[in-house]
């Protein structure tokens, strides 16, 4: 049981990384905004600080970078932006996900592989 939840959380983390790259690719965001956007897209289980280690991981892998910018009505804060490597990683994720999504949907519906 524990193994299963571990596996599912590992899988979610991988997908989340991709989703974070997609969101950041649209516009630079800061941590709280990122959390809000994910929640709005229905990632209700993504709370409790999960995104922070992921943001750091993406930053260490140089897929995203932090930049200090003035926030609306507040002081300077760190916004995350995609790097060039991040753009290709995001595109690769979208491609992989689309393929996986199609396969799983077909499998669920019972269709034969074309």
């Amino acid at each position: 049981m524990e193994e299963e939840s571990k596996r599912s959380s590992q899988m979610l983390k991988g997908i989340l990384e991709g989703c974070i790259l997609i969101i950041i690719g649209r516009e630079p965001v800061y941590g709280y905004e990122m959390n809000e956007k994910l929640q709005r897209y229905g990632f209700s289980t993504v709370s409790e600080g999960t995104i922070y280690p992921l943001l750091l991981k993406l930053q260490t892998k140089k897929l995203i970078m932090g930049e200090l910018m003035p926030s609306p009505g507040g002081p300077m804060r760190k916004y995350f932006k995609l790097t060039e490597a991040g753009v290709s990683e995001r595109d690769a994720f979208i491609e992989q996900w689309t393929r996986l999504h199609t396969s799983v949907s077909q499998l669920v519906k019972g269709d034969e592989q074309p």
Partner: protein, 270 residues
């Protein structure tokens, strides 16, 4: 922004947290700084902490408490974050040890140099350095674990116990071990070494943030001055006479009394 500026901004912003969120964040900061500063660059750790603080403030404004936003297991999240960071160079990792040992060394070497005829044992200093490494490591690990533990009181005892045991080990090692690497610091060489140590002690204690150690400077200077004058050949005979020894005893005792008085006032003030 450099690490100091980030810490300053963090300090200002923290005031905006309400009591409950403030407590939550202070614990997270203490844990992350202690654990992080041993392994990672200060700048990286401080950047993360500021990002989290700004987000917690956003959450607070939206009516979400820190533990709802950041989770009921902040220690695990902090650990997960730190696992993603590249580690700092080795020298930075042992800077706490250097810090503690530096203070210990500066303020114990000088009194030991008052009598030029007695040799100074570099070996003993190295042994105490090794003991310091061991105990600083133990204390830091203990502080780190105690932050997210319910039984805070026991942790405090363990910590004070560790510090006392460390100090006792250094004293016992000094008594039991034979002189490992004795050197004589006479004449101009001795005066030079004392002057360098005094300069280091002064530089260290006058640095911002080190105000706590200023009273130690009294002992350092009192023994430093003695160590220098006792090495001037013209007066050498006097310091070996009963009168000279009496002056040394009264001078050092006076400096100790002054030191205790200043420390007492400083502690009261803080």
């Amino acid at each position: 922004m450099n690490a100091k500026q980030i810490i300053e901004q963090n300090r200002k912003l923290q005031k905006e947290l309400n009591e409950e969120n403030g407590k939550y964040y202070t614990d997270l900061v203490a844990y992350t700084r202690l654990k992080g500063s041993l392994l990672y660059k200060e700048q990286q750790v401080e950047e993360i902490l500021l990002v989290i603080l700004q987000d917690l403030l956003d959450a607070q404004r939206a009516g979400i408490g820190a533990s709802d936003y950041f989770g009921k297991h902040p220690k695990q999240v902090a650990d997960a974050m730190m696992r993603e960071l590249p580690t700092a160079p080795f020298l930075q990792q042992i800077r706490y040890v250097l810090y503690v040992f530096g203070i210990y060394a500066l303020f114990t070497i000088l009194p030991g140099l008052v009598f030029p005829d007695e040799s100074f044992d570099i070996g003993a200093l190295l042994v105490s350095f090794l003991i310091t490494i061991l105990f600083v490591k133990m204390i830091v690990v203990e502080i780190r674990q105690s932050i997210y533990r319910e039984t805070g009181r026991k942790g405090k005892f363990v910590m004070i116990g560790c510090a006392c045991l460390g100090l006792a080990s250094i004293v016992v090692a000094k008594i039991l071990l034979p002189a490992l690497w004795p050197v004589k610091l006479e004449g101009a060489l001795g005066i030079g070494v004392v002057a360098v140590l005094l300069a280091l002690a002064t530089w260290f204690t006058l640095r911002k943030g080190n105000e706590f150690f200023r009273p130690f400077l009294i002992v350092a200077y009192a023994s430093g001055v003695l160590a220098i004058v006792s090495r001037i050949p013209k007066y050498a005979a006097f310091w070996k006479s009963t009168g000279g020894l009496l002056v040394i005893v009264v001078w050092l005792a006076g400096s100790l009394i002054w030191f205790f008085y200043r420390s007492y006032r400083q502690i009261n003030r803080e």
